[in-house]
């Protein structure tokens, strides 16, 4: 296959170098994509992830233990409190939704009642005439 750079006689040396580089980069990108799609890479990634997670867990557990022994609230304590707040917020949200539903129901009834009472005198007048 002919080199595309060679086909264009007007291409400057700089453009030729650029094209050659871009061609090489594209080839490398394709090769790397094939590499990461392989079974071996998937296995490696799984093991690496497990190791990183385990190391970070050890670090965070040690940090929390130090804080706890110093009688200072650790991340776990703050998380527990925040979870309680979450639960309270859930309950409040459900309560608010129920109140809004009841409010809508009440408004509908009020409108119906107002419509009925507005319609009554008209009928009475019609009967009289």
């Amino acid at each position: 296959m002919a080199d595309p750079a060679a086909r264009e006689p007007t291409a400057t040396p700089e453009e030729q170098v650029r094209r050659l580089y871009e061609g090489a980069e594209t080839q490398t990108a394709k090769a790397m994509e094939q590499l990461v799609a392989g079974q071996g890479f998937g296995e490696l990634l799984a093991r690496m992830t497990e190791n990183v997670v385990a190391l970070s867990k050890v670090g965070s557990d040690v940090g929390d233990l130090v804080l706890r022994n110093l009688r200072i609230a650790g991340r776990g304590d703050i998380t527990r409190l925040a979870r309680q707040l979450n639960r309270t917020e859930d309950k409040l949200e459900l309560l608010l939704q129920r109140i809004e539903e009841l409010q809508d129901e009440l408004n509908r009834e009020r409108v119906e009642r107002a419509t009925k009472s507005a319609a009554k005198p008209v009928r009475a007048t019609a009967r009289k005439s």
């Binding site: 400057t12 040396p13 700089e14 980069e25 490398t28 990108a29 790397m32 994509e33 990461v36 799609a37 079974q39 998937g42 296995e43 990634l45 799984a46 093991r47 992830t49 497990e50 990183v52 997670v53 385990a54 970070s56 867990k57 991340r75 703050i78 998380t79 925040a82 979870r83 707040l85 979450n86 917020e89 859930d90 949200e93 939704q97 809004e100």
Partner: protein
């Protein structure tokens, strides 16, 4: 520019490139004016008011859990939200926020059975409409599909737009990474209350390592050198890409196990709070959008949905671009947004 000039310009180009990269955080994204309508835990519902509103059915935008929803309103002059407002839609955005350790027990059921329907309810009340149009992107699309798969015709969603949404993950690269037996997702979810966003982003970038870690920066440097670089566009996208909220541990475990290890959604075996997620219950007007160069959710991951739904009005757009470029790339305004807005406009009447 001759070779000598080009070499002379190199130091200035290098400094300018470094400046663009280092000051990306200053870029203004998600700048359109909006009101907070409702909040619950970390979730916020925003309303963008249109002063040209002509469609009674509001549009509710739902994004994924692994990046911020600002991508819908990337930067002034290049914002899908602005475009919809101009087209006369009332626009709402459900932002999942930034979960923290206390949200570690938040599962997919919270997003599908609580936050999404509650957000829809608030959007309906605020817009004074009985219906909404749901526009979900990536995991956001999957959450919308799960919601309509449970609620069926009872959902207030009249229209359902799914952008690059994973449904059948059998041939996804993620499946070969996290779907394998040796990827211990339970250990990760037990050790980390929330999976750091950076690690999820790193894995995403690893799918195309040279392109994501090198070519993007090299192209920026080349653009600066040639005088063709768009500083605002690059910085806005770079800032958005780098902003990765953590993934709640339980939701991560469920997403990986149900979607990639067991591929439950397409098989109709997923259950949330005892309810089966049956994509065959979807009756909404459905628009499915896939991207030709999407390596995160390739077409084959979305297309099986078209054979499963009960909807009579089904449309499929296949557009150029990648997973994000489809909606946020430089060609999106011409090639993707008009089609979406037209499709919605035809189905958003009284």
């Amino acid at each position: 520019m001759n070779a000598l000039e080009s070499i002379a310009r190199l130091p200035a180009s290098a400094i300018e490139t470094a400046n663009i990269m280092l000051t990306a955080d200053d870029a203004k994204i998600g700048a359109a004016s909006r009101d907070v309508i409702w909040t619950h835990r970390k979730t916020t519902l925003y309303r963008y008011r249109s002063n040209k509103r002509k469609h009674p059915v509001p549009v509710l935008l739902v994004f994924a859990l692994i990046n911020r929803a600002d991508i819908f309103d990337l930067r002034p002059g290049h914002s899908f939200v602005e475009y919809l407002l101009d087209e006369g839609f009332d626009v709402y955005l459900l932002d999942w926020g930034v979960p923290d350790d206390e949200d570690g027990e938040t599962g997919l059921d919270y997003y599908v059975c609580d936050a999404l329907p509650w957000g829809m309810r608030e959007a309906q009340r605020s817009a004074g409409s009985d219906d909404v149009s749901l526009v979900g992107w990536c995991i956001g699309g999957a959450l919308c599909a799960m919601h309509t798969g449970i609620e069926g015709a009872d959902s207030p969603a009249r229209n359902l737009v799914l952008l690059t949404t994973p449904i059948d993950t059998s041939d996804s690269l993620y499946t070969s990474w996290v779907g394998r037996e040796s990827f211990d997702v339970d250990f990760i979810a037990e050790s980390w209350p929330t999976v750091p966003g950076r690690s999820v982003d790193f894995a995403n970038k690893l799918m195309k390592p040279v392109t994501n870690f090198w070519t993007t920066n090299r192209r920026l440097a080349q653009g600066v050198h040639d005088g063709t670089a768009n500083r605002e566009a690059h910085q806005a996208m770079a800032k958005w890409v780098a902003d990765n909220p953590p993934f709640p541990g339980r939701a991560f475990r469920e997403w990986v196990t149900w979607m990639y290890k067991q591929n439950q959604l397409v098989r109709g075996r997923m259950r949330l709070r005892g309810e089966r997620v049956d994509l065959g219950r979807i009756e909404q007007n459905l628009l499915v959008v896939t991207a030709g160069a999407d390596h995160i959710t390739p077409r084959s991951n979305t297309m099986p949905l078209l054979d499963l739904v009960r909807s009579e009005d089904v449309t499929h757009f296949d557009r150029p671009g990648g997973h994000i470029g489809l909606m946020a790339g430089s060609r999106a305004r011409k090639e993707t947004w008009p089609g979406l807005a037209n499709w919605l406009a035809q189905r958003s009447g009284p």
